[in-house]
Symmetry: C2
Subunit: 338 residues, 2 copies
Amino acid sequence: MNNNSGNDKTMTIHDVARELGVSASTVSRAISGKGRIGAATRDRILDYIEEHGFYPNAAAQSLAQSKTNNIAIILPEVNTLVDMPFFHTCMYGVEEVAQANDYDIIVVTTNGNDTKPLERLIQNRKVDGMILTRTYENDKYVKFLKQKQIPFVAVGKFPDDDVVQVDHDNVGACKELVTVLFAKGIQNIAYLGSNMDQMVNRCRYQGYEEAYRKGKRKLNQDLVYTDLSNKAMVEKAVEELKKSGVECILCQDDYICDEVVRKLARMGVRIPDQMKVASCHYSRILENYPVTITSLKFNITELGRRSCQVLLDMIHGKTVPDKTLLDYEIILKESTKG
Amino acid sequence: MNNNSGNDKTMTIHDVARELGVSASTVSRAISGKGRIGAATRDRILDYIEEHGFYPNAAAQSLAQSKTNNIAIILPEVNTLVDMPFFHTCMYGVEEVAQANDYDIIVVTTNGNDTKPLERLIQNRKVDGMILTRTYENDKYVKFLKQKQIPFVAVGKFPDDDVVQVDHDNVGACKELVTVLFAKGIQNIAYLGSNMDQMVNRCRYQGYEEAYRKGKRKLNQDLVYTDLSNKAMVEKAVEELKKSGVECILCQDDYICDEVVRKLARMGVRIPDQMKVASCHYSRILENYPVTITSLKFNITELGRRSCQVLLDMIHGKTVPDKTLLDYEIILKESTKG
DNA sequence: CTGAAAGCGCTTACAG
DNA sequence: CTGAAAGCGCTTACAG
């Protein structure tokens, strides 16, 4: 007693064709909107479909059209309170515009080295394109995708010009932040960063450097730490910096900023009186402090959205800009006051 | 000059059949391992495939076999430092076992109300099953999936017996935690929770209640808050509880715990001397405090893994347990000392 | 504007 | 053990 003519198998295009006394081709045209078709027939078909809930089989469409309406989003393996929200939020953004365009997203997590999962997805033709959410200095995935000529976009900067990139202007943002801090009368600013394999980290450091150059100031390399891979190293750096008499510490991200703030608290060093602090990336972690922290703020969801939009444009054969740079905000707070 | 016989189109099963002088059926059998086939032919085919890198077209396989090798994972829209890592970690777990079984995961984010995205995925037959990562008191998705007879598993408890569930034993865990606290000599324990629409929150409260009953203690409803939906409400509750002279506050999750700890600090109330605190869910947020917090600890990745394993079993027609309850740990720390 | 036919790239009874 | 054929459910030139 259901709509399905007493037949419980899922409806096909032929079922609706038969019911309506037209051919399957005509039904297909009505649905796709492609090819000439009479307005009356089209409406009749569309009405029937609407009413009886016909949904085309994705695999059949995919096979016939050589397109999947799937895109892959490649996530790194991360587990910090800074990284997880970043990638998750970015994924939301991607998903939002994918959904809006009738695309689904296939998520794959990788360690940055094993290209097997990625290859399988491509070779089996399960996706029409890919989004790389993190790029490395020498990125295996990028090489593979370029060679396979798969449409893909890299979230984050990449040295090669022929790679389509969507990113926040990390270089410009850090440069401006440091310049602003100089303008506030701060004489020297230390930099604490970690893994320079990641492009985003290189960019931030570059911005810091450029600000020094622009300000015609001499950058003392003793104030620069770019390979702090754990808490102990950050703590040691903070101790050394305190002794050195530097006025301000610029943190590559909130993970490092978090350690810095805690360490200073344990040392009894007051922010900003005895040490100023700023971070290159605002995340909710910063909300937890008694003292508010000066930082750069990026719109991560928008980053995801734009990446997806650019990828879809590529897939649909439109020409897209090689680089899309998103804006940033500089949030000045207590931690750099005075 | 590539391996592809000078032809740049992607290889099909017929190409390898022709090269090897066998039929497409035989190639198919060699790959799938199904149907009788001579060991020699099989090896010859497999070697060729290995060497020349043939990958079957997923859409074609999907169409012929009516299965997609995709599963969907439904994520709620969340943005707190507690929720995002939870769902992200769970997703990792799912992805890990999906990958290992040659399944891909399609991620869809929903607000819990709009069933459209879910429906599309099902109706177009893009997935073989689904994982619901959050369940609600009256879950629309559950209803839809049951009606459609799609294999699915709910992460978290669900009242209906005919819904396959994978969950931590939230009830038992909270019950035991509260019982342990009683055993330490604490006389009364307040409960701070939020949205009771979510099953997980109901469970935790239920465990708390059961511990009271088991201990034959009278539960004073003035000590119970179950609808704190923002910071201000939590703060007010903390103030009232401090006045009431209660000894210990049990927090439904770390989001609430975070607010409680901060509020107590601002009030100048020392933990654990002047107020004890415990949380029903350990997340990295708790690592940030100067005082360590007693809490329940769950293995979220494992939750994801098991959910996926159960779903795959269902898809493959095995019988699976209606409920899979994962273990928990009780971590006693400073915050409940003395 | 519409239909019949071939094709997308696999799988799987059915013969042999 | 292996092959020819039909079928999965669409799309799309090609005729008319």
